[in-house]
Amino acid sequence: MTLLAVVLHVVALLASPIGMVGVINRTKAIWAGRKGPPLLQFLFDLTRLLRKAPVYSHVTTPIFWIAPLVALATALVSGLAVPLLGYAAPISFPFDFVAVAYLWGLGRVFVILAALDAGSSFEGLGASREATFGALVEPALFLCMGTLAAATGHDTFASIVHVGLGSSDRIATTAGCAIALFVVLQVESSRVPVDDPQTHLELTMIHEVMILDHSGPDLAALQYASAMKLTLLAALVAAVINPVPFQTSPAIATVTHLATMLVLALAVGCVESLVARLKLKALPQYIVVATVATFIALLATAWRLGSGG
């Protein structure tokens, strides 16, 4: 990767979460018949939060304010290993996707600990749910990445996602992995139908309830990290379903990649406007959808590898 590409990647990593959240919220506003906040509202919110002085509970310990920093640091570092612009990533080494998944795990563990740190029963509920669904979604993510690695014959994140729509015999692999990754996106970044980022005074929420007690820069770090994870997962889905192969025309492919990400943001917004949140009891089944989809993709890949295709 050239220096320019690295700079572009970092700029995209820092800027695109704001755009993604803006587009999702605008989509939801249009469905609701409202004008909606400006596209950069998330940025304004973050800067406002950064200026504020935080409030800490008497119960909390340093873990409470270290956690948002860990979450943001893991999101930033993992963002350098994900092909955000579609074709390459600044950090790329064999099996880097394992490291990315575990970095997200580290961030999640600290956010959960911060939630338990406040000693509130509400936050404990959210923490328990986050830990549960985080654990349940892990196999789908790994099955998906293993399938992509087997289908492409590569072993770095930036190269395995180019499974391609081109050949018809790969359609099962591509579709299965895309569906699985989209569900993983909804779980990992707390979107409807798994979680509702809007309501944070309900007993049914997951991520928002965990960060009830956070304020000021800490809250900004948590929200930014969460939006970054959403963007990274959207970039993965976009790279998998990108119709233009990167080998032929990198410039056009990058444009279509970014356009696909935009479409995904619209899709997330539409799902949030049109679908109700699932019951918590039904969530494990919803996550199984992802596992089954990627399992079909894996079987299709194995069959193709076995038949020498």
Partner: protein, 664 residues
């Protein structure tokens, strides 16, 4: 070799002194000093071997029926000695602080003597290549561990746990004796070298022997379904004994497996699949139990089962690599697996020591009664968190390094065909579930016991760990960080033992290992980058906040009448996860609910998490034939015959696999 003999004498003398001296403090010193001398002498011997300076071998003539005893210290034995003995020394040091409150009332000499004997037995097991003497060392270690467990022998629970352990370990012993007898009758010798001649040639008896060996070593290392003795023994034993049993003593089982892998040479593919399935199941069931335990030490005990499973997945992968002639898989599998043994020893001992320090401060390890301990026990909290993050395999700590190697092996494009590749990828995703559940167990254990506010006002935590306990934990914490952040150190330690498995066939024997090492370099850089980014953010936050913050009460969502009993409990934290795995995580409720609108007597509700496997085993043993009849009766009439037929076919298949060595 002279040094090893001297070390053995030092251990025995130390044991004798600990028993003979009159004062507990003197006994403790005798134990620590003799351990120190013995460990240093052994390290002088073992370190050069581990770093690749050839092997040590000596033959001593012996009386009938052993005839001669071959002591052979190769890289594998040296690897196990190099961390087992120092960690036993650490355990002894910790025991000084841990047993101190009981010095006035009890004779602690027995504990110190037994710790010396444990070290003594390690040297026997890891160096001797004669079945008879190997079994002797095996038995010494088992009995010493049993005696160590029953330190609090006045409690009936402890005695029961002790006997349970003693019986289980002897069942494993008999299976091992059966395996050795099979090999002895085939070779006419008790020497491992001649066993190898038998094990190298594929034969039905080799398959049987492999199953016997895997069962026996699996029982020692607490593989599922032979794990049932372990959580009991671990929760009953003093903290240093739990730590050493879980982290060090029962690694002898994995050593046995590895030693006989070397003797087998080129295993069949089915052995690899068998080991992989056995280990995956072990890791999964172990971690599921981990998520639902109330007793902190039981929880840690189950997580040992999980971690030997993870190491076993690495070994299974190595077996497959050996039978497919893929040196990269062999290197990744065995390097990852062996490294995970070391890593597990380090973080598991750290966690048990932290749990012991909780027990010393509060006199309980029941999660539901703890809470907010981080204020009273800041050192313990820090060490527990570090160990917990490491055991969940999170970067940048040591658990991640070994798990990364195993993942790399499972996801590597080394499998010969599509379906085998798919099976390995499936195993990787199972390992991911294990990782996620293990993270859940960690945050649950740490969050419930250390964070929030105390749940039970009758529990008082008055003092943090004593100096000797803190030093011990600190040493282990350094290991956790060092092995994680600088994986080159870890790889240097496991390179020689892993290279043994590559065999002479691979052209430059170390090249595949070096490839595995190359994989870890960027991981280390990523960890460094993570730390750097974190530090930058830390400075940024400090600049933004600049000490401007206000203190307030926790936001109660409009409800302010909270009591600390309302916090999330350990049981409720894992309830939803456990409900997804109800067949394994069975909750038993004992309840008397209040009756009527104005109940006259108070109700109560207790929930227990029982070990379903153990219960089923007892049911099967106790009810015998009735049990199988009941199970069969549950299958409806129509498919029952088809099911029976299927079973017959399965048995026939299994028999034919044993007899012919492959699927017909």
């Amino acid at each position: 070799m002279t040094f090893l003999t001297l070390a053995q004498i030092a251990f025995l003398l130390g044991a004798a002194l600990s028993l003979a001296l009159r004062n507990n403090v003197h006994r403790a010193w005798a134990g620590v000093v003799s351990q120190l001398i013995g460990t240093t002498l052994t390290l002088v011997c073992a370190l050069p071997v581990l770093l690749g300076d050839g092997e040590l071998r000596a033959t001593v003539p012996w009386s009938y029926p052993v005839e001669s005893v071959t002591a052979h210290l190769d890289a594998l034995g040296a690897f196990f000695l190099v961390w087992s003995l120092p960690m036993t020394l650490m355990g002894t040091l910790y025991a000084v602080g841990y047993l101190r409150p009981q010095f006035a009332s009890r004779n602690a000499g027995v504990q110190f003597a037994l710790l010396n004997i444990t070290s003594f037995s390690f040297v026997l097991i890891y160096t001797l290549e004669n079945a008879m003497v190997f079994l002797l060392g095996w038995e010494i270690a088992a009995v010493a561990a049993w005696l160590l467990v029953i330190w609090e022998y006045r409690s009936q629970k402890t005695r029961f746990a002790g006997f349970n352990y003693l019986v289980s370990t002897h069942v494993g012993f008999f299976v091992l004796v059966a395996a050795f007898m099979t090999m002895r009758s085939a070779t006419g010798s008790m020497d491992f070298g001649s066993f190898s001649n038998f094990l190298r040639i594929p034969s039905p008896m080799r398959n049987v022997t492999f199953i016997l060996l895997a069962t026996s070593f699996g029982l020692k290392a607490a593989f599922f379904p032979f794990h049932t003795w372990l959580p009991r023994a671990h929760s009953a034993a003093p903290a240093h004994v739990s730590a050493l049993m879980s982290g060090v003593i029962h690694k002898a089982g994995l050593f046995g497996l590895l030693r006989f892998t070397l003797l087998i040479g080129a295993p069949d593919a089915w052995m690899g699949w068998y080991l992989l399935a056995f280990s995956s199941l072990t890791a999964l069931v172990g971690v599921l139990y981990t998520t639902a335990q109330r007793d902190l030490k039981r929880l840690l005990g189950y997580s040992s089962t999980e971690n030997v499973g993870i190491a076993g997945i690495g070994f299974g992968l190595g077996y497959l690599g050996l039978s497919w002639h893929k040196p990269v898989l062999v290197a990744l599998g065995f390097t990852g697996g062996i490294l995970h043994i070391l890593n597990h020893a380090v973080f598991k001992c750290l966690l048990f020591y932290a749990a012991g320090s909780i027990y010393r401060a509060t006199h309980t390890v029941d999660l539901e009664r703890l809470g907010g301990l981080i204020r009273k026990l800041p050192w313990t909290a820090f060490f527990f968190l570090l160990g917990g993050l490491a055991i969940s395999g999170l970067p940048p700590l040591n658990g991640f390094v070994s798990e990364f190697l195993i993942y790399a092996g499972l996801l590597h494009a080394g499998a010969p065909s599509g379906i085998e590749r798919a099976l390995l990828i499936g195993t990787a995703s199972l390992l991911a579930l294990v990782g996620g559940a293990s993270a859940l167990a960690t945050v649950r254990a740490f969050g419930v016991s250390f964070l929030g506010t105390p749940r039970d006002t009758t529990v008082h935590a008055d003092h943090d760990a004593s100096l000797s306990m803190r030093l011990t934990m600190c040493a282990h914490a350094v290991g956790v960080v060092l092995l994680g952040v600088v994986p080159a150190v870890a790889l240097r330690i496991v390179r020689a033992p892993a290279a043994l498995f590559m065999g002479p066939a691979s052209a430059p024997p170390g090249s595949a290992i070096l490839e595995a090492a190359g994989l870890l370099e960027p991981v280390a850089w990523t960890s460094a980058l993570l730390l750097a980014v974190f530090l930058v953010l830390l400075v940024g936050r400090w600049w933004l906040v600049r000490g401007r913050y206000t203190k307030h009460v926790t936001w109660g969502c409009g409800y302010t009448g909270t009591t600390s009993r309302m916090q999330t409990t350990g049981t409720s934290f894992s309830a939803q996860f456990a409900s997804s795995f109800e067949s394994v995580l069975h909750f038993q409720r004992r309840e008397r609910l209040p009756v009527g609108f104005f109940p006259e007597s108070p109700g109560h509700l207790d929930t227990y998490n029982v070990d379903t496997v153990e219960r089923r085993i007892f049911e099967a043993l106790g009810e015998g034939q009735d049990f199988s009849t009941k199970v069969v009766a549950r299958i409806s009439e129509e498919p029952r015959f088809a099911f029976g037929l299927g079973l017959v076919v399965l048995v026939a298949l299994v028999v034919s696999v044993f007899v012919r060595g492959d699927v017909p």
